[in-house]
């Protein structure tokens, strides 16, 4: 790692690759201790391995069409190792690129047999990708500078809210609702602390029903919550709903005396 600073002697005025606390950082910090924050910022500053490679190439004013693969590979791997040492999470693409560079390097080292003259320069594919990426990187910077609404273009408008506009309500499909929930679950899965289990909806619904039933009453008799016309499964669902409501501290079960009537009381304050 100590070699990084030797190799990266700037040869041109550089673009800062990161800004930390308002200060431009144009080189990796040279001290032995590198604040992880700076490295994270450094990592965030790159949009992937191609971007990092381009940076290394530009930084040293190298010809992209004739990259000294051995040097670049070494530098690239140094950066990667630095990040790994600091236990920064590296996208898999960075490692893939390291492998690709190493492969190119090894192929360049092989003696060239004249018979296989068809074979491309091993760097060709990489150069092609770098050039292609660079085109879009450059043009995206130009697009970023274009005038745009919210920054440079201010559309004029007059107030129309004073009119009674016909109220058109958006229409949604059941499918959209389900897909939205699916989306939510997927997101929630990413915060893996949240667990969703499939719960029978009927219990949820019964909980609501029970709450509605008791909301305006002081006490409701426990057995009045059950609809005896329902089948056994319905009674079980009601019972589960009551247990669930108790667990969530939404209702309270009260029994004045032993073997006395059990009453249910809402804990919800209106």
């Amino acid at each position: 790692m100590k070699t990084i600073k030797d190799r990266n002697k700037p040869q041109q005025s550089e673009m800062p690759f990161a800004i930390v606390d308002g200060e431009q950082i144009t080189e990796l910090p040279k001290d032995l201790y590198i604040p992880p924050v700076a490295l994270q910022v450094f990592l965030d500053a790159f949009e992937g391995p191609l971007d990092l490679l381009l940076y290394l190439i530009r930084k040293q004013n190298l010809d992209i069409l004739d990259i000294p693969i051995a040097d670049i590979t070494q530098q690239y791997v140094d950066y990667i190792n630095l990040m790994k040492e600091l236990e920064l999470e590296l996208a898999g693409e960075y490692l893939l690129m390291a492998a690709m560079l190493a492969e190119i390097k090894s192929r360049l080292l092989l003696p060239i047999f004249e018979e296989i003259e068809d074979e491309e320069d091993p760097r060709a594919e990489l150069v092609r990708r770098l050039l292609e990426y660079e085109r879009y990187r450059k043009v995206s910077e130009e697009i970023n500078e274009l005038d745009r609404v919210e920054r440079d273009i201010y559309p004029s408008s007059v107030e129309t809210a004073q009119f009674e506009q016909p109220l058109v309500l958006p229409d949604i499909q059941l499918k959209e609702l389900v897909i939205s929930f699916q989306e939510v679950l997927k997101k929630a899965e990413m915060f893996s602390t949240l667990h969703f289990t499939k719960e029978p909806l009927s219990v949820k619904e019964r909980m609501i029903k029970i709450l509605e039933k008791i909301e305006n009453e002081d006490f409701v008799r426990f057995e009045d919550l059950f609809d005896l016309k329902e089948q056994k499964i319905g009674l079980v669902v009601t019972f589960l709903a009551i247990l669930e409501l108790m667990k969530e501290l939404l209702i309270e079960i009260v029994q004045a005396e032993e073997f006395g009537t059990i009453h249910v009381k809402t804990l919800i304050e209106k």
Binding site: S156, V158, V168, V184, E189, F196, S202
Partner: protein, 202 residues
Amino acid sequence: MTKDFNLKNTIEALLLSSDEPLSADRLYKIISNKENITKADILDSIKGLENDYKSKEIEVSRVASGYRIQARKSINDYLNIIFAEKTPRYSRALMETLSIIAYKQPVTRGDIEAIRGVSVSSSIMRTLSDRNWIKIIGYRDVPGKPAMFSTTSEFLNYFGLERLDELPDLPDIKEPKNLDLELDDQSSNQNKESSIPKSMLN
């Protein structure tokens, strides 16, 4: 004053560009940064605008927080056409909030925020209760007594459901494709034109 500077035209453009009414004070503060003007100049210019607009279909209106330019009632008929042509859509945030309430009810705003990882905007909750799709069913007995929301029978009616348990089963997270197929049959008229299927976004 700067050459070519025209106060009336500047005020007009500022009032038209701002999303909210601007008071004479505010206009003065903004413009006097660059130009040597008085507050009286501002008021004169606004009078001038009012005069210019006499024959136009827009007018200067004075409301509590200042001046704004608004369309005259005479173009109301056209505006009705413009607004009627638009088929509004609900935001993803609203759809997700509604789906969480539907499947996890009763839930508090805190529950929804914990699941979605972002705060729930008041306007979403307002929209949902304005449509009578959700209601407050009580207050959870924890500090702060947060309101608990559930869906309503109007919500079920809207989707042609009789009971909550007729809501489609939670799709298997790992295999969203099956869901799409399954639900395509059920959805009568879809306006899928602009929205990108969620499954493509992952």
